[in-house]
């Protein structure tokens, strides 16, 4: 039993880092503590919410609002006071968690909920040469993978499909699914009415009255009472805008024509009066809720058009009555009851108009909030598997590393299926030095666009630095000299060809992130024509991740992935990207992140979304 003793020794001596104290994190911390780990550091920036309590068992109702990392630490110490747990209520992307910080650990274990943080941790682990055990769950599905530099693939060696996004016109004019209506209600209508007024918004994109007068339509007139205002907006977006859209006969040639809806029909005066003016029944200390103030109690029920309309108007008014200060900078949040009510009912009214089946508030919330299905059991199993792999890592038992999938439907009798890890992808821009290729119009595109849309969004860099040859054209972060900062700010608004070192066809950019210790090269290809629908960014990056060729078999899991898009995002469907082939097409698994969208507003839940293809024929081993 020498091996058991060796494991025990390795565990006792280990210093480990856990990133994430949510669904997987709670289970992991408990299992680590029981397994003899005695020096555990844990980072999580989240605070506790009620909907966490069904699985994040270290938390109680009284903890709602407190730091997950701190509460988890305290809960474990109550049972195992003799171990050392250090908790950080912080973002793992903060600069204090640099490569040197990571170097102190023997292994890092992720229980994260978003692609962005996962990629960041992956890079730090590569730079610090610390093994990473990565995990994710959704519903009954889950996976654990091991990433050890030079031995197995890194987290970014394989495609991470971005959530599906939709062509702008599907959202603004021709919705055919409920999710289209949700995206419209959330990203266009809600953002227009309650969000930042300066943001681009396609809400009226197809209306005939031109963009100049549009902004005024949504403004409240000086002498308008709230009810009039609400009804005017209602009539405008559900009635007038639909009439305008109907004028374009071409659009409806092969489609069902929508029905304009006006408040006087959907919402008779009496119905509104019956319930009095809004706010009467809402107690001051409670979170305002339109359904509560209208006496509706069951969020599982599908409401009629009239009820949806009542709640819509009520929610609209409550925003101005109870939360006026926030209007103008609200961002949709799945835990904001009033916002959920507004978005759900708006989506339903629009769905009604387009002949799309209506949904309950509960269902609509799931779609709008991009909520990840989560249960305690899967998290517990995944945490167990993480610890098993972590112990192998600590013992250097790399021949026995496995990635393991937790399945809902058994495959070759297996519910837990171990697979040999893959070797590093030689063309991975993160763990190899393969250059990327960027198609861009160098005469029109500004450096700022390349940095925001490509370097930060796509390459996931936090504080990038951009060099052309030996000329530094941009640097991010604190500690810059004033003149440097001013110089970089100037460069940001220059087009590529006019930078101090001009970027033209064939130029090679060097991009670095000091915190992540990641450096990569981008070869520039000048191109003037871009397809507006397929390439809305006016740039195409290739070689940055192997694409996914086939549609992922989802077990229903992709329902939530489908909703994370925003109409502002790119409209391309990753599965149809040209010129990109799936590198390891024998791989059956695809990991997906629930909130992988590049728009920062996407709300994420605590656990990850996983997609698995359970077809055993696709599964082939690939030895180290």
């Amino acid at each position: 039993m020498a091996s058991a003793a060796a494991s025990e020794e390795a565990v006792k001596a280990a210093k480990v880092l856990m990133v994430g104290a949510g669904g997987i994190g709670c289970e992991l911390l408990k299992t680590l503590a029981l397994s003899g780990f005695s020096d555990i550091h844990i980072i999580d920036l989240d605070t506790i919410e009620v909907s966490n309590l069904n699985r994040q068992f270290l938390f109680r109702k009284t903890h709602v609002g407190q730091s997950k990392a701190h509460v988890a630490r305290d809960a474990i110490l109550k049972f195992r006071p003799n171990i050392n747990i250090k908790s950080y209520h912080a973002n793992v992307k903060d600069s204090e968690f640099n490569v040197d910080f990571f170097k102190q650990f023997n292994v890092v274990m992720n229980g994260l909920d978003n692609l962005d943080a996962r990629r960041h941790v992956n890079r730090l682990c590569l730079a610090a040469e610390v093994p990473l055990v990565e995990s994710g769950t959704t519903g009954f599905l889950g996976q654990v993978t091991v990433h050890v530099k030079g031995k197995t693939e890194c987290y970014e060696c394989q495609a991470k499909p971005v959530p599906k996004s939709y062509p702008v016109c599907t959202i603004t004019s021709t919705p055919s699914k409920f999710v289209h209506c949700i995206v419209w209600a959330k990203d266009l209508l809600f953002a227009k009415l309650f969000g930042d007024k300066n943001q681009d918004n396609d809400l009226n994109v197809h209306s005939k009255d031109g963009s100049s007068s549009n902004s005024d339509v949504f403004k409240r007139d000086a002498d308008e009472d709230l009810d009039q205002y609400a009804r005017r907006i209602y009539d405008h977006v559900f009635g007038y805008n639909i009439e305008v859209a109907l004028e374009n006969e071409e659009t409806w040639k092969n489609r069902k024509r929508p029905t304009p809806i006006y408040s006087r029909e959907a919402l008779p005066e009496e119905a509104l009066k019956q319930n009095g003016t809004s706010g009467d029944c809402t107690k001051e200390h409670e979170e305002p809720s339109a359904m509560a103030s209208l006496g509706l109690t069951n969020p599982q029920e599908i409401w009629t058009l009239a009820d949806n309309s009542r709640v819509f108007v009520e929610a609209f008014k409550l925003f101005f009555q109870k939360r006026e200060k926030e209007v103008g900078n609200l961002i949709f949040d799945k835990d904001d009851q009033l916002a959920v009510e507004f978005v759900s009912t708006a989506a339903n009214i629009r769905a009604y108009s387009f002949g799309i089946p209506l949904h309950s508030l509960f269902e609509a919330k799931g779609v709008a909030g991009n909520i990840v299905h989560a249960v305690a059991t899967t998290n517990a199993i995944i945490a167990g598997l993480i610890v098993i792999e972590a112990i192998k890592v600590l013992r250097g038992d790399y021949k026995n590393y496995r990635m393991t999938f937790c399945l809902e439907h058994p495959t070759r009798k297996m519910l837990l299926m171990p697979v040999d890890p893959f070797e590093p992808n030689k063309s991975c821009y993160v763990c190899s030095e393969t250059p990327l290729l960027l198609d861009v119009n160098t005469k029109e595109t500004k450096l700022r666009e390349v940095i925001d849309k490509i370097i930060k969004s796509k390459l996931g860099m936090n504080l990038p630095l951009v060099m052309i040859g030996s000329t530094l054209v941009f640097e991010d972060g604190d500690g810059l000299e004033e003149d440097e900062a001013a110089n970089y700010a100037l460069n940001l608004d220059k087009v590529l060809a006019e930078l101090p070192a001009p970027v033209i066809n064939g130029t090679k950019l060097t991009v670095e992130d000091f915190q992540q210790e990641l450096s990569c090269s981008i070869n520039i290809k000048h191109r003037e024509e871009f397809d507006e629908e397929k390439e809305p960014e006016g740039m195409v990056l290739s070689g940055w991740s192997a694409p996914v060729e086939k549609q992922v078999n989802s077990n229903g899991a992709n329902k939530s992935a489908a909703s994370s898009s925003s109409a502002h995002d790119s409209v391309e469907d990753i599965s149809s990207k040209p010129g990109m082939k799936r590198k390891l097409d024998e791989i059956s698994e695809t990991k997906e992140n629930c909130g992988a969208s590049t728009s920062a507003q996407v709300v994420e839940d605590d656990d990850d979304l996983t997609m698995l293809d359970e077809d055993p024929k696709l599964k082939k081993k690939r030895s180290l």
Binding site: T31, N54, K61, F79, T377, A380, P410
Partner: protein
């Protein structure tokens, strides 16, 4: 066959079908009429998105008994209390010893708290804290003596750290009752684990990805029937752990040992028993590797915490599936071995293919 008989048969067939469908949809016994409270909807939001409102309502009406409190069953208890079962009763009068601390995270390292108290008693309070909406209590008594009337209070019975004799006794009792009581046994031997499931006749809604929901029927063998299956009739690739666990179980029974009361010194006698059993059942001894038996006897009562989490998680899922009549349940054994990382289902005796 004459026409009237044919029609009568047809009517009977459809009636049966309707009754089954009714049961599977949440009809009958208790039903699922009442709505969940706002509090329940908020707390269970994420899991309702996995298994639906009806399953959640059924869960809240289910009564679960756990005989034998250890690291593995406590993982299971945590999972179903979080999920929101109606009630959970713990039966284990053993006084807590230091050994219990190794894998049971609900027992604090403080003798002034656990000293002199039973395992069930110490764990009960913490489980209550996990979810105030679930009733958790201690059922005093000896699992080997529980009677039918007591058993009738439950829908699910989970047995662990009990002798084969006790398991057979409880399983037999469950099958004799008029009401449907699902039986599970679960054991963790360090890095290995076994779950046995007897749902008797179970009808459920099967939903394969991309397919329409389908009503399915399963008929389970009893524990006695399952372990009596001649080894030579089992497929060659049957998990070796299945045979190894039978040898160990038989050894403990014949030596009059407590469950898990083995050590490395028992290995020669266990190997002799292996030869004996393999000869009788015409199985090649290599199907039960010595190294595996060695690990199992050396394990004794030791549970490896990650394996507890995995087994307790799988069992939690299985119990939720069985209560909700949704999803393919394990029929009828589940094995996990951390050495190869596989979590495997075995159907013993194998269900004949249609």
């Amino acid at each position: 066959m004459d026409l009237s008989k044919y029609v009568a048969n047809l009517i009977l067939f459809f009636r049966r079908l309707r009754i089954r469908a009714f049961r599977a949809m949440g009809g009958g016994g208790g039903g699922a009429e009442e709505e969940l409270t706002a509090q329940e909807t908020a707390l269970y939001d994420r899991q309702i998105r996995v298994w639906g409102v009806d399953a959640q309502k059924r869960l809240s009406k289910a009564h679960v008994l756990v005989c034998g409190v250890n690291g593995t069953t406590i993982e299971f208890c945590k999972n179903i209390v979080l999920a929101g079962v109606g009630s959970l009763s713990l039966m284990d009068d053993h006084v807590v010893t230091e050994d219990d601390l190794n894998s049971n995270f609900l027992i604090p390292h403080d003798e002034s708290i656990y000293g002199g108290r039973s395992r069930a008693d110490v764990c009960c309070q913490s489980l209550k804290d996990f979810n105030p909406m679930v009733r958790v209590d201690v059922a005093k008594g000896d699992p080997s003596l529980i009677d039918g009337e007591f058993i009738d209070k439950f829908d699910i019975i989970v047995v662990s750290c009990a002798s084969l004799k006790t398991k057979l006794f409880i399983n037999d009792n469950c099958r004799k009752r008029n009401k449907h009581i699902a039986f599970y046994s679960i054991e963790c031997k360090d890095s290995c684990g076994e779950i046995f499931v007897d749902l008797q006749n179970h009808s459920y809604v099967q939903k394969k990805p991309g397919g329409d929901p389908k009503q399915q029927e399963l008929a389970y063998p009893s524990l006695q029937e399952a372990i009596d299956v001649p080894w030579k009739s089992l497929p060659k690739k049957t998990t070796k752990l299945h045979f190894a666990m039978r040898v160990l179980e038989r050894y403990e029974l014949s030596e009059g040992r407590e469950p898990g009361e083995t050590s490395l010194s028992d290995l020669p006698a266990v190997l002799a028993l292996r030869k004996d059993m393999c000869d009788r059942m015409s199985l090649n001894e290599s199907q039960i590797p010595t190294a595996l038996l060695e690990r199992l006897v050396a394990a004794g009562k030791k549970e490896h915490p990650p394996v507890c989490a995995i087994l307790g998680g799988i069992l939690g899922q299985e119990v939720i599936k069985s209560i909700s009549c949704k999803g393919d349940p394990v029929k009828n054994f589940f094995y996990f071995d951390a050495a190869d990382g596989k979590g495997v289902m075995e159907d013993i005796p194998p269900t004949p293919a249609d």
